[in-house]
Amino acid sequence: MSIPESIFARRIVVVTGKGGVGKTTVCASLGLAFAKRGRRACLVELNGQGRFAQLFGLGARSYAPRAVAPGVETISLTANECLDDFAHRKLKMDTVVRMLFKTRAVTGFLDAVPGLHDLFQLGKIENLLVDPHDDDPHYDAVIIDAPSTGHGLSMLSSARTMADLVRVGRFHELSSTIERTFGDPEKTTIVVVTLPEELPVNETMEFISALGPDRKLLSVVLANRYHAAPVPKGLAWELMEPLLRTSSDPDLRQLHRLALTEIERQDAEGTSVSRLAASLDGLPVAVLPWVPGESRHVLAALASDLLGDES
């Protein structure tokens, strides 16, 4: 299944979704797919989770970019590093003043205003693309592994809440800049990852209906870990099914149970995907196959799939 071609023209791809659905894997595969299209991509991780480092066997996380594949790099951001970078580059604050950011009063304030952490990290990303320093690497696109908030709040709405709360000052300017770049469908797109199961699909539908103005940024919903049909359906199975069920060979009866479970799951997955597609009036839904094996293998397979390669 291939994804809308327009995604490859965007500079920012925000990959979001619930915990454990495959966001990190999809991000990494998208990065590989971008590179295959000749677009240099950077996989950006927020809140210093270290997941890309883990996935690519790089050891500890790092704020400095590192290559993970030809044409693909990764950086791992934390709010503190981004704030320090911002204070240094944009506010031209010297080391002494920046030390103030490490005092309790300031860290307390930064922690107490939810959204500030997102703001700094988005600011860094914006900077990397729009206004890179000479020594910054050049990327055609950044692919963001957005944290799963668990309550459907997107990072972008977080920046918006900030803009709303903070109406003047440098943070306000920052959030307005971010809003301009991240809110522009020519530059930014959101990819939602979900699973072809009832609960994740419901939550995805709720998430999308709560997106409000950001809905225009959505380009595709990916139903990940979609299982292929276990047995070719049709007359042959219809004839085989009762023979297995009533067989005197216990192994064949067990095979019957296995096959039925797989078929039922596949049917349920199909129903979930149709239900999702029907709720999204026109927004594309694509399925990504369930790939057995190690995670590195999974992402290579998904990268080919995203590009619509036949394999």
């Binding site: 205003v113 668990g150 085989m240």
Partner: protein
């Protein structure tokens, strides 16, 4: 003494399902149980009779499963719990004044750790209520399992005296350094938000005090011998470091872990002999040989595929079990179609730690 069981784990692993299952299992064993769920799936909420209900415990009709105990269930409403906390521990008119504070409206329930903290507040209410033998607590989705344990401390830190309530107060009592910091923050965020934040923390004064005072109490609760944790996880190796961190934390803090529940495990196909197409029934007349053969090949591939997956899961389970050395490990199989009725929850009982 009330027993408390807390289900924790990464996002989407099955915490809410496990919490409901453990609660039902205790009710089946004849105990009076309450389960506090967090954002349950619609079907599970329906199964527990929670549709549309909020922050108060409602009794679940257990007659379909013939349990001898009782079960109540509720859904955490963070905002209501926060407002409640403020009403109980704040100055008399504080709610009204907070309600017009922009910061309170936009930010209070999103404070880092607030979700987990509110779950614990509600837990304490349930303990005080005294009606139950067992309280089962579900937890919010976490990026790291240990997040739950740091939440109360993160909340308490926010309300440490001085720092934030001094913001935007403008008084001449502020020291040089604080004034300097105030100026920097003002340049960054503007005067009004600093004022709002400062006012919020000043208004929250006695609530903040309460939150700080509670810290120790909460730590005691979490470490009590009557509290046990159930770690829910998927059978995957990429969660190993997280599980290790969790086990280390519990050991260091002397907290009791009831068990690790590995959820959605695929079991081996249990066949006497491999399936080869020759073992399958002969093609009936009405079907073309080629079609029958194709089906036979697909069927023969099925058991090895399930077996490979089951082996991966078994390998992950043994590494995960080693990480929590000595903790009882329960394995919950993948339930086709998910867990969405009271009966289905009751069927999980034998797999769950009680």
């Amino acid at each position: 003494m009330t027993r408390v069981v807390i289900a924790c784990g990464l996002g989407g692993v099955g915490k809410t399902t496990a919490a409901a299952g453990v609660a039902v299992a205790h009710a089946l064993a004849g105990r009076r149980v309450v389960v506090l769920t967090i954002d349950p799936a619609r079907r599970l909420a329906d199964a527990l009779g929670l549709s549309g209900l909020g922050n108060e415990a409602v009794e679940v009709d257990l007659s379909p499963i013939g349990a001898t105990g009782t079960l109540h269930a509720l859904m955490l409403d963070r905002k209501a719990t926060f407002d409640d906390l403020v009403r109980r521990h704040g100055e008399p008119d504080i709610v009204d004044r907070l309600l017009v504070n922009r910061y309170y409206r936009a930010a209070s329930t999103r404070l880092s750790g607030a979700h987990e903290y509110m779950a614990i507040v509600k837990l304490e209410d349930l303990v005080d209520d005294g009606r139950w033998d067992v309280i089962v607590l579900d937890t919010p989705p976490a990026q790291h399992v240990v997040d739950f344990f740091h939440a109360p401390e993160r909340m308490a830190t926010l309300f440490e005296p001085g720092s934030l309530s001094a913001l935007g107060g403008g008084g001449g009592l502020l020291g040089m350094a604080t004034r300097r910091i105030g100026m920097v923050l003002e340049r960054l965020a503007g005067e009004s938000v600093i004022k709002d934040v400062g006012e919020f923390f000043r208004l929250m004064g006695s609530v903040g005090e309460h939150i700080r005072d509670q810290s120790e109490h909460i730590q005691k609760r979490l470490r009590s011998k009557d509290t046990g944790f159930v770690l829910v996880t998927s059978p995957r190796l990429d969660v190993l470091s997280d599980v290790e961190a969790f086990a280390d934390l519990l050991r260091a803090q002397k907290m009791r872990i009831e068990g690790m529940l590995v959820n959605r495990v695929v079991l081996p196909p249990r066949l006497g002999h491999p399936i080869v197409p020759a073992r399958l029934p002969r093609a009936p007349d009405e079907i073309e040989a080629a079609e029958w053969e194709a089906l036979g090949l697909a069927l023969a591939e099925l058991p090895p595929m399930v077996d490979a997956l089951a082996r991966d899961h078994a390998a992950a389970i043994s590494r995960l079990s080693a990480a929590v050395d000595g903790v009882p490990v329960s394995v919950l199989p993948e339930i086709p179609g998910g867990v969405r009725t009271l009966e289905a929850l009751a069927r999980l009982a034998p797999f769950l730690p009680t």
